[in-house]
Symmetry: C2
Amino acid sequence: MLIWLKNYRRDLLAGDIGAGIIVAMMLIPQGMAYAIVAGLPPVTGLYASILPPIAYALFGSSMVQSVGPMAITSLMISTSLAPLAPPGSALSVVLAAQMALIAGALLFVSGIFRLGFVASFLSRPVMSGFTTGAALLITGGQLEPLVGGPLAAMHGPSTIIGLTSLLALWLAKQYLSKGLSALGLSTRLAETLAKLAPVFVLVVATTAVALLDLTQVGVKIVGEIPAGMPAITLLVSGEHWRPLFMPALLIAFMIFLSSQAAAQSLAHRRGERIITNHELLGLGAANLASAVSGGFPVTGSISRSAVNYTAGANTPLASVISAALIVLALSVPTSWVSWLPLPALAATIILAVLGMIDFSTLKDSWRYDRGDAAALLATTAGVLLVGVEQGVILGVVLSLATVIWRASRPHIAVIGRIPGSEHFRNVERHQVETLSDVLAVRVDADLFFGNVDAVVSHLELLLKARTAAHRPTRHVLLVMSAVSLIDTTGLYALREINDSLRAEQITLHLAEVKGPVMDRLQHSDLVGKQLSGQIFLSTADAFRALQGEDSWSI
Amino acid sequence: MLIWLKNYRRDLLAGDIGAGIIVAMMLIPQGMAYAIVAGLPPVTGLYASILPPIAYALFGSSMVQSVGPMAITSLMISTSLAPLAPPGSALSVVLAAQMALIAGALLFVSGIFRLGFVASFLSRPVMSGFTTGAALLITGGQLEPLVGGPLAAMHGPSTIIGLTSLLALWLAKQYLSKGLSALGLSTRLAETLAKLAPVFVLVVATTAVALLDLTQVGVKIVGEIPAGMPAITLLVSGEHWRPLFMPALLIAFMIFLSSQAAAQSLAHRRGERIITNHELLGLGAANLASAVSGGFPVTGSISRSAVNYTAGANTPLASVISAALIVLALSVPTSWVSWLPLPALAATIILAVLGMIDFSTLKDSWRYDRGDAAALLATTAGVLLVGVEQGVILGVVLSLATVIWRASRPHIAVIGRIPGSEHFRNVERHQVETLSDVLAVRVDADLFFGNVDAVVSHLELLLKARTAAHRPTRHVLLVMSAVSLIDTTGLYALREINDSLRAEQITLHLAEVKGPVMDRLQHSDLVGKQLSGQIFLSTADAFRALQGEDSWSI
């Protein structure tokens, strides 16, 4: 905790201050924008950007993570609160804080119990499919604000502001960084300044709207932002714990996954290590802090953290400086912000989330593994057609279903001896010799509940085929060289195989059982008591013992 | 389909008729009892025992499965319908049929799409924990009927009937089979007759209640059973599809799992093979048939199927005969059944479900694998404390969580050469020699989304340790002999390892990549384009190529 502060060196300060300023400039419009996406008053997005990054700095392990509002979590907040409170209402603010409280508590407790492995519940393609679906949903939700009304009845001045902003942002994204480099700026500075394009666009749009008083012609603006600090208080609604719990759990999960993705990609670049369970504590603390200071669920943003890193951040001090600057912005008169036109803000949101749409993972997985590609597409479809929360659950189910589906088709090879050697190989791929009454089988998978049915029925098929070919079997040898784990269900399956073989006067032997697997089997009745045959160290030993009167044949 | 009928031989008939009669005798009280557990009128349990077994016979692959009402599915029906309709009401009957319709359609479609692998979503310990929890819940629900009122205000005559029945059933279970054997009956006949003890107890109790007219003193009876056939019609409530869908999905899942367990254990004994996808079709057809004939969700019952088998059933004709006998029972005046006392019926239910409580799996898994034991206990607790439907979901989540949890701690060994050989082994377990600037690592697990984070961070730790020990690394060799699968997430992880090693001037090589894994990697950019090093056939080849100026040292 706070190791970075104890080891703080003066030469890190300049980078942290520079990054702190730049991230604050990003955070002010972004915080308000994502509050709007969440269906909350814009100022709550600023509140959610003050204490959370400071709380994260106390526990988190990433040096450059920028914790605060984020597009996908905001979308999840809006869909979760929609049935409970009208958007922008006082109750919605209370419930959003309450969600942050539940999510924060879940994250913090998960950190204490070291449940970081839950980050491994989603495959990368499924995460990509989820993000793409969420980005499309957010974009869809911003189309009306962009054009100042329903698409069938666009509002002229709003549409002009919205589309001009969108065009300017798109041009900036495509060319600004290169252009600034060409002007002689360092690549890093050019990239950082280019990321501030939304700020410049918003300043221009705000100025135009204010000077021309465009609200008169019906352009909608952010409206009054109350000046001053958020009250530090915990407002909760007594009766909404139950309906908020499941959404808060799902948001907590996505908070963790998003933040992990951001932290890890930057840690790779900085040669640092992320400690997953510290991340959980940091995110938990950040959300608890958000809950008591008028905010809503927050997480590490991959894009903002990248800007923080590129702008030179060395430690979480950069985030603390950003927070201080937002406090400063709230302490001065905030009326200038009130002129910020919603169509321009919608344009910045759309351009930001369209950048999250990821075709390359779809392309890669389509080429590499159709099952993963199908899971990706199904998750996107689920988010779009059913909903973002259901999309999270669907994603987890699909990720895990692919595991069980693959496990349900284990690779099982009948093996024989390569003549003149002690090597044993698949009879279908190599010219090998076998003993007539021994069926030797290598199972190329762990034995666990996901594949035992498949293993048992494969074995039955092999035995039936031998019987049909008039090759009676006296011994079955299971070669366990590729088995690193046998769970309780796998143990039962071995016992059932043993029993049903015994009923047909066939002896079951094992060979090449790995050390840890053997250690565990000693705790069962299979070894020593039930097993009808023996356990051999090597396949060669087993064949020597089982050869008897028999002779090898190809 | 109906292969058993095409190949029917006359000598199978006697066994089928005998079993058909005995199962019908079991099914009449059991059907009514499980209808009561489901919160439905008793006669619906008889309706659910007529068409479903016939429909199952058309598609199913088990020869001795007895399809009909079952305790756990009835419990699930009752908890699902409780918020929607009062127990025993006309609406509850319609909704129960509607659940059977949805569940049947889901099962049938799953069979068409060959989704039989979903049976592998629950580990055996978790299934045991679920069954135990459900059995306890059902027992709890039958205590009031057993004593004719709340436990604090037991009804004397009812309590006497209930407890006497319970005692008689317990004694029969313990001693009847042995006693009949001692009298000279064959073991098989003795066991079969002993299973009919509940029928005898109920006949005695019914006769006593009717002769003594015990309803006058307040003993509750089953009441009138309408004579005649169920109407073949599809009554559905237009508005309840949505709330019924999730419960029906969960019931469909448990229908499939229970039936699989019953079918497989008997198929092992009979030396037959169960075709999982045919089971889905058979169960789907059975539930659709139940839906159109006034029934409710049905499944294969492990205990009743065992009686069917022991009583000599050879083909599904036995079940068809049972169905015909139930039709017959409904065609004659049914007033005698109306005197069946509920306390005695409760006693038969309690004794039946207490038999489902399974301590041996808990004991085995406690000794063998604490993680599995914890999942078992958590599932039981979930069923008891939260609910039976949530218990199913919890069970799936816990089963899959153990997979991911185990995957998140993969076994990774640094390997070296056994001097004077071409064998490579774990440096921690064997006296081996290594090359100073080569880190050779064997990953003993498939590379998939569940463990890539763990693999990557383990590798980072190993590299850091070498750097800290002033042993710079120039080559990392991943030995893939134990990797049978790399999914898309695993592919990305390899790419990231490759890129971050390259940034530190370390070359990444692979060795002993299995055929199917290599085939798939050819479809990616890793092989040929991105990989900084080479792919070697064997670890020995790799070390020969990487040795360079270096020399081996221990």
